[in-house]
Every structure is written in C-alpha cells, then in structure tokens.
C-alpha cells in the first residue's frame, strides 16, 4: 500500500463513529489537561491506560495519541496568558507569548500558536507518511545486534542531550532498566527480584508505575504551586484575528519550526521540548530584528509551537516502524500497544494496516478538529484556567486508585502506586527525571532480549556490535554522545570551581 492509498484507507478506519468518538474525546481531554498547569499529558495518558483495556486497540491508541498532541495545543494557553507553561513543551512560548498578552495582543498570540501548531502537525504527518514506509522496509534488515545498539543509543541520547546532569539522567534510565528485569526471565523462567510476591511475577505493573510516577507524584508537588495561578484575562473572538502584517509573519517561522521539529522528533532521544527550544533559537538567529525577541515577537511563538507539534507527530516514526520509543510518552504509547497484544515494529505496517494507517489518518482528523474547535471555543478554554487545582486533584487520586485496581482487581497495585508515588516525589525533589525511568523500564526487556539473542548468534563475541554496519554506526554515536557529555560536564565543573574561587 502506498502512502496515499494507506492514508485513505486509514480515513475509512478512523472515521468510523466508534473510533471517531475516541479521537474527539482524546483531543478535547488533551487540550483540557494541556491548558491546566499541574497536570500534563504524561499523567493523563497513565490515567487512561486502564480504561483502554475496554477499547479496541485502534480506538485506544487514537485516543491516547489525541491526548498527546491535543495537550500541545492547550499548553500554549497558560504559557501565553499566565506565563505558566501548561506543558514542558510550551515553556518557550512564554518568552514571547506572555509579552504579547501584556501588550493586549493575547488573542493574536493564541491565534498564532494554534495555527502554527496546526501547520506543524500537518508537516509532521507528511514526514511520518514519507518516512514510515521506507523505514519499515529498511528495518526488516535489522538484526538483534542492531536493535539492541539502537535502543541503547535512544536511552543514552534521551539522558544526555540537553541535560544539565547527564549522570543523573542516565542513573534514572538504568534504574528503569533494573525495574524492567523484575518478574519471570523470558529465557529461563527464573523469577527475578520478586521476593516471593506472586503479584510481581509478571513484572512491575506499567500502569501502577506510570500512575505513581506521574499521577501521584505530580499531584503532591503541585497542590501548592498550582494554587498560585493569576486570573487570566477574558478573550473576545474578535481579538483573535491578527492584522495582515502579523498574519504574514506566521507561515515561514512555522514552516521552519515544523521541519526542525519533524527532524528532531523522529530521532531517538530528542523530543518536542528540545525542538521547540531549537526552533526559538533559529528564529532569533534568522530574524532581521532579533532585539524584538522576548518582547512579543510573533515569530517566537510561531516557530516553537509548530516545532513541538511536528515533533509530537514525527515521534511516532521510530515507535511505529521500529518498535522503539524515542521519548517517555512514546514509551507509554508502546506500553499501551503491548497491553493490547500489538507489538509495534517493521511488521506492523503489513500485519496491522488498519491500526497503522488509522492512527495516521486520525492525526489529520484530530488536528483539524483541534483547530476548528479550539479557535472559536478559546474563551471556554481560558476560563478553565480559573478552576482551582484543589477541585481536581482529589478526583485524579481516586481515578488513579480505581484505574489501577480495575486492571486486575488487586489492591496490591494500589499500595504499589502509593509506594511508587512516594519514590517519584522524592526523585523529583532531588531533581531526577522520572520520565527517563519509565523509558528505561519499557525498553529494558527489549534490550535484554535482543542483547542476549545477538550474543547467542555471535557465539558470545561482542565484536558483532562493530561488524554489522548498522549496529556499528549506533555504537559510534553512543560513544560520541558519552564523550561529549563527559567533556561538557568537566568543562562546566571547571567553570564553576573557577567562579567559586574568585
């Protein structure tokens, strides 16, 4: 099936009422949690995981994906109006969005962010269609060694690129890998680290882990913070419309951001947050008036917003074609697929065309919905910002408990959520990133299996990782990344000690 036939086929899947409704539900819920600071896409997707047990795999994935890219639209609202990023991806949008709002141009900033997000998403969809077919074909040549090396590269990239403390990020990844080994060993059937608990035989429950780390821990740290939101201004529909001069300043930054975002989104380890920062830097560099940035430049909203949406879409490329999630949200998506007995990978395109193309087509539908719903309804979303967090978090907690209980009717899992939540809060206090733990946890079993298989085939000779050209390229990239981050850390440390002695 070629790209366009596939897309059309996908439309026939995702326009079925039973699927479409979950697409709508996903994007509306995504916008909602994106608008609200204090609860993000990660927490929401964890919260919805158990509910997807009751849905078809297509509907489940389409809904979860809708939450993800929907939250990218919503995230800009609080960034622009309150200088409070609703999602980490929209943090950059505060830089020029908030000054615009203070000049009374909040409506224009919102319009810019919504339309750029839309442009970025569609750009991402094109890239996804273009790349996925080719990559799926190429990936059939991948052996175990290549897979293992590539996943390792993903983990190293995620913990080092753009990180202040690569060692802390990497430690989280390794802790996740360790947690991933809990349960029955696939090869020998030996129970590892179960300490006699039968509940642990299938491993640590992904739903409990995700809910504890993102649901509970985030509630604890946000009860206080989220109360300090200011009062958002009222936005009238007419204020949304930009002048013609302003309108002209949107498309090119958005396209630049979109291409940047779709490139970095598809790479393992670099996600939408990094893309939006890069897009901002690029816009300031190419602008003829760099001094206007930070004081309300439309380009500073358009570029990053297009970038993070394009990246959110193209992040599905490695997840769907290789079965390797590039960032923690994709890891959660992959987990959701595995829950439904679908193993993403190069064969998915052939084996599950409904799911593959249905999902891609739903991106198109969902983004169109987001644009036509969110612009007219912007007043409603803005008024959501008046909801105090204290009305929401008790409901989140109860839904976490019931959700995790519904998976297999065991209160053990609720106790586990409390424990993981406490650990997650402690980790965030000490500025460790629990999202990386989840990435390691999901990839761990895959890495171990492929590593063992690769070494079995090579009769225990690790040189196999350098002999296969694909694996060797990944190993080289890993070494380069590690060397880079060590040099950077040492340089920073020297700079710090120089500062403290003078």
């Amino acid at each position: 099936m070629s790209g366009w036939e596939g897309f059309l086929h996908g439309l026939s899947v995702s326009l079925q009422p039973g699927v479409l409704i979950y697409c709508v539900l996903g994007v509306v819920l995504g916008t909602f949690v994106g608008v609200l600071p204090g609860i993000g896409a990660m927490a929401t997707i964890s919260l919805l995981l158990p509910i997807t047990y009751y849905l078809s795999p297509e509907a489940a994935l389409i809904m979860l994906a809708g939450v993800y890219y929907g939250s990218q639209y919503g995230g800009a609202v609080a960034s622009i109006l309150l200088r409070l990023p609703g999602t980490p991806q929209s943090a950059v949008t505060t830089l020029d969005g908030y000054p615009l709002a203070q000049q009374g141009r909040a409506g224009v900033a919102l319009f810019t962010s919504m339309t750029s997000s839309f442009l970025g998403s569609f750009f991402g969809i094109f890239v996804l269609i273009l790349l996925s077919g080719a990559l799926s074909r190429a990936a059939t040549a991948f052996g175990s060694a290549d897979y293992a090396a590539m996943m390792l590269l993903g983990l190293v990239a995620a913990s080092t690129i753009g990180a202040k403390h690569p060692a802390k990020g990497f430690a989280m990844v390794v802790l996740g890998l360790v947690l991933g080994t809990v349960g029955s060993d696939v090869n020998s059937g030996v129970q590892r680290f179960t300490f006699g608990q039968t509940e642990l035989m299938d491993g640590v429950n992904l739903v409990a882990l995700a809910m504890g780390l993102f649901g509970v821990a985030e509630v604890i740290s946000n009860i206080h913070i989220a109360e300090r939101t200011g009062v958002p201004p009222r936005i009238k529909l007419r204020e949304l419309l930009p002048s013609r001069a302003e309108l002209r300043r949107i498309p090119f930054p958005a396209l630049r951001g979109a291409s940047l975002g779709s490139f970095f989104g598809a790479l393992p380890g670099t996600g939408s947050t990094i893309s939006s920062f890069l897009a901002y830097a690029v816009e300031r560099r190419v602008s003829r008036h760099p001094e206007k940035f930070g004081k309300g430049a439309i380009e500073g909203v358009a570029g990053p917003e297009a970038a993070n949406n394009a990246a959110a879409i193209s992040a599905f490329v490695p997840t769907l074609t290789l079965g390797i999630p590039g960032d923690p949200i994709m890891a959660l998506m992959l987990g959701a697929l595995v829950i439904h007995g679908v193993q993403p990978g190069p064969l998915m395109l052939e084996a599950r065309p409904d799911m593959f193309w249905g999902l891609i087509a739903s991106f198109g539908i969902g983004n169109l919905l987001l644009l036509v719903l969110n612009l007219p309804l912007i007043g409603i979303w803005v008024s959501m910002l008046r909801i105090p967090f204290r009305w929401l978090y008790p409901a989140i907690l109860i839904f976490v408990c019931l959700g995790v209980y519904s998976v297999r009717g065991s209160t053990f899992d609720i106790f586990a959520v409390a424990l993981i939540g406490a650990i997650g809060y402690a980790l965030s206090l000490a500025r460790f990133n629990p999202a990386l733990l989840l990435l390691g946890f999901v990839l761990g079993p895959l890495i171990e299996t492929n590593l063992r298989r690769a070494l079995l085939i090579s009769r225990g000779d690790p040189i196999v990782f350098l002999q296969r050209p694909i694996a060797a390229a990944f190993v080289l990239a890993i070494v380069a990344l590690l060397a880079m981050s060590i040099v950077q850390t040492l340089r920073r440390r020297r700079a710090q000690s120089a500062k403290s002695t003078t």
């Binding site: 009860i223 109860i398 408990c401 980790l427 225990g460």
Partner: protein, 148 residues
C-alpha cells in the same frame, strides 16, 4: 547548607540500590557466559553500572554547596494516606464509602481547609467514580460496606 544534599543522598541511595541489585543477582541467579547469558547477567551488569553512576553523582556533591528544596510533607502525607486508606478499605467498605473518606483525607492538605466544599467535592467525585467505573466500565467492586 554545606553540601548539595539532593545529589549526595540521591546518589548514595542509587549506589546502594545498584550494589544490592548486583550482589543479589550474582548470589541468587545464574550468571552464565556472554554466549549463553543466565538470568543474572543483565541485572548484575545493570546493578554495577547503577552503583557507579550513584558514586559519580554523590561524590562531587560533597564539595558543592546546595540548597534545600521545600519538602511538601503535609501534602505528601495527605495524598499518600488517602491512597493507602483507599486501598485498605476498598474491598471491605465499598467504593462509595472509600471515595468519600479518601477525598476528605486528600483535601486536608489543600490551602482552603473549610469542610463545606470538601464534602461537596467528595460527593461529586463519588458520583463520578460510580458512574465511570461501576456503570461505565462494569468493574466488579462492592459499592457499600458488607457487599463483598
């Protein structure tokens, strides 16, 4: 504050966890060879790496000056207590009872501690959770005490 306590404690804890994992794996599970890895091989390596990373994080933190993060003790206690109580009581006292109790516990950490809105919220959440989980998802869980 003398040392960067976050990295010091975090790193030390991770190092301890890593050491335990590595030793436990070596002790309890078969390591095997590179060619035929036993169930202990991967965890043992991971434990070793984690211990090393823990040290890399903790050691420089000793010489660095850090700042205390404000720990939200009250909020953490209320949230965790709400979950634990919910887990302990769910199958005996039922969904409705436990939702009411847990919401009241969880909201005790909210900035506004008056009882009125907390009761209203508890009733709303209870209604919502019965609607979604009992009627919507048809989950088998007692709603009231003594139904199990």
């Amino acid at each position: 504050m003398k040392h960067d306590i976050h990295d010091l404690a975090g790193g030390a804890l991770l190092a301890a966890v890593g050491l335990f994992v590595a030793l436990y794996a070596v002790e309890q599970y078969e390591i095997g060879s590179l060619r035929r890895m036993g169930p202990g091989f991967f965890p043992a390596v991971l434990g070793g790496v984690l211990a090393l990373l823990g040290l890399i994080i903790a050691l420089p933190a000793w010489a660095r000056i850090g700042q205390w993060e404000r720990i939200a003790w009250k909020e953490a206690a209320a949230v965790l207590a709400a979950i634990l109580v919910f887990a302990a009581g769910l199958e005996r006292a039922g969904l409705v009872t436990m939702t009411l109790v847990s919401v009241l516990i969880a909201t005790s950490a909210a900035p506004d501690r008056r009882i009125g809105w907390r009761l209203v919220l508890a009733l709303c959440v209870a209604t919502l959770s019965v609607a979604v989980f009992h009627f919507g998802l048809k989950m088998t869980v007692p709603l009231w005490p003594g139904q199990a």
